[in-house]
Symmetry: C2
Subunit: 82 residues, 2 copies
């Protein structure tokens, strides 16, 4: 299954609890689109969040994020990794 | 050691071999700044690359990337992850 990296901006001040809650909201419904969110990293200072997933498409990733209440600003397939 | 995510843009068309060579150029000198590059993901279509590292500072990450010939466009501390 292809991997995707998506980016959320303007999340300045996000806390560990906020990140955990947002991630769990994704996990709760991800199976409905065949998505598996694997990891998320956040920088509270610049307000940027990166989420790594495996998914059938970028649109599937975005649909889960939207339904969980946090639309991504960018979703990129990352077919290459090292 | 803190984690960092850095981003390189305008790398449209990057190949698996390019990514591997760039990553190995970082690995060859990372110890000189106490940096450990852990993973990199690339999207040849949009030309964006994400690199995850552990490092003493964002500046240390950038110094390694610069010396390896590929300055990052952004380097963010990612103190939160889930």
């Amino acid at each position: 299954m292809p991997e995707y990296m998506d980016v959320h901006r303007n999340m300045t001040g996000i806390t560990a609890e906020d990140l955990k809650a947002a991630h769990e909201a994704d996990l709760a419904i991800q199976g409905e689109e065949g998505v598996e969110f694997k990891k998320a990293w956040a920088d509270p200072e610049s307000g940027v969040i990166y989420c790594l997933s495996e998914a059938p498409s970028a649109e599937a990733v975005q649909r889960i994020h939207e339904r969980a209440g946090h639309r991504a600003d960018e979703v990129h397939a990352v077919p290459l990794s090292v």
